[in-house]
């Protein structure tokens, strides 16, 4: 934590170009054992899958689709079960899931962040609303499935509603905790310096809660995928959850695994995007943490 007293050194350290830094990190990563251990780990898991299913044909494992079957299907120009990276249907499933996620996630953020901020900021508001919030929160989002189907017509809205609900709870709660986590001396300092209540909200409460908000959004995007899959499996047309469930019904097992892996990749990418956005908006925090490492 201890930094140099000389202001010039700390100023210049932050001016190292980010490209050079990335190259440096990459080369030191390649020199460490980490990438090779990682590859060994992947290889071990794949080998276990391959041998247990396709070579040794262990009981139970033999019913599962093996890696050869899955990857041939996935990357084939003429897939046997009709689903590969060359078929438009594959992208339609991904696209529809992504659209539902985007819609629910943005709605949940647009409503959850302001609600969380006000819950944390105004004690009166919190005393009224929070108990109600806590009363509804223990009900698992997925238990809402039938009620959502009853309340919203069609098959699209219930799925989006479920996804929204999961995200909304995570975002609101974390935003509220973020406001509560702000050191009291920051808002006191702002009042001392002549900021009124609204200015304090804008300059202290919102940026101060930002780290928690983004933690919340990370969780939110995770639970959004979680409930989306459940929603798509129970009701809905198209989407990756739907793909997995129908492939099971139609006994097209390799497609199940393709769906699962795709979900993993897409889910990981979306949460990485949220993280990158967070880092971009919180330069102060990135720089602070970067210095803390050294």
């Amino acid at each position: 934590m201890d930094k140099s007293m000389d202001p010039t050194t700390s100023a210049s350290s932050s001016e190292v170009s980010s490209a050079a830094l990335t190259m440096f990190r990459l080369s030191s990563w390649l020199k460490s054992p980490r990438p090779y251990l990682m590859l060994i780990g992947f290889a071990a898991v794949l080998a276990f899958w391959f041998f247990s299913v396709e070579v040794w044909k262990l009981p139970r494992f033999v019913d599962m689709p093996g890696p050869t079957e899955v990857f041939t299907e996935w990357f084939s120009k003429e897939p046997y079960y009709g689903l590969s990276v060359y078929t438009p249907e594959y992208y339609k499933h991904i696209g529809i899931s992504l659209r539902r996620i985007a819609f629910a996630f943005f709605l949940a953020t647009a409503l959850g962040v302001p609600l969380g901020l006000f819950l944390g900021w105004s004690k009166t508001f919190r005393e009224f609303i929070f108990p109600l919030f806590e009363l509804l929160r223990p009900i698992p989002v997925l238990a809402w499935v039938p009620l959502a189907i009853i309340m919203f017509a069609g098959s699209e809205t219930p799925v989006i509603f479920l996804t929204f609900l999961a995200s909304f709870f995570a975002t609101t709660l974390n935003t509220m905790l973020g406001v509560e986590s702000i050191d009291e001396s920051y808002s006191r300092a702002a009042r001392c310096l002549g900021a009124n209540r609204w200015q304090t909200f804008k300059h202290v409460v919102v940026p101060g809660a930002m780290p928690y908000i983004f933690t919340g959004l990370q969780i939110s995007i995770g639970v959004a995928w979680f409930s989306l899959v459940a929603g798509e499996m129970v009701s809905g047309q198209y989407g990756l959850g739907y793909l997995i469930n129908t492939s099971y019904m139609m006994i097209e097992y390799p497609k199940i695994i393709i769906g699962m892996i795709t979900l993993g990749i897409v889910g990981y990418t979306t949460s990485a995007m949220v993280r990158i956005l967070g880092d971009y908006l919180m330069q102060w925090r990135v720089r602070e943490l970067a210095l803390g490492d050294n």
Binding site: P33, G41, P138, P146, L147, V229, G264
Partner: protein, 274 residues
Amino acid sequence: MNIKNFRSKLFSRAALRGLIAIAIFLVIWEVGARSEQLFGYRFPFLGLVPPPSDVFVSWGGLIGNPSYWQSWYMSFLRVFGGFTAAMIIGIPLGLFMAVNKTFYGMYFPTFEIMRPIPPLAWVPASIIFWPTQELSIAFVTFLGAFYTIVINVLGGARSINKQYLQAAQSMGASQWDIFRRIVLPATLPSIVVGSAVGMGITWEVVVAAEMISGGGSSGGGEGGGLGFFIWSSYVGGSYEQIVVGMISIGIAGYFSSELLRQLGGLLTPWLKTR
């Protein structure tokens, strides 16, 4: 003193305000649900939901029904099974990853790649793999809690203040002593947090798995669990029971997490003194 505190809390302004908000919520729900009878116009969304009074009447009728309690029992059993398995496998795995760098380097990336796959996406594969439906539900439930527990244990064990370890070494502690007396207790708070979060996910997963797989036990029906109770109420058209089921799961989930938190509080008494 304690009782006095409790009572002053119970009758405080905050509690009153909370009750007012909940009461308003219930009134809006009741009026909204009965809007067709009251105003001749059905409110959007709310107009399609059963009113709370009907829900409570229906709940009253179910209290004496053994198959309702059987659902509770089945769900609890599944949650308990999957959760215990996740603890038994997840805690040692997390600790081992924290202490063994090679193992961590090999399997943590794999673990991180698997983690974004939602547990429910495993349902069909799980049904194919496991011989009985009960086991496949247990497996998916296990997965739900597993990731959270491992991540929390790993994070907790890796963030132990190095000075504690050095202090123990300088006092002549053996490797086992260090593990048993430093690493384990220092990780305990993270284990508690991970378990409480994992318990919440477990309930989510059980409910969904019961809905998707149609009650688990062959033929569904009596031994279906609360998730199936909701689903069969939906299929059977008794909408009040859906809400009863939702509230029941909420209560069950809340008390499971609360129980874990209390237990965790007992295991980590040093955290209480600020």
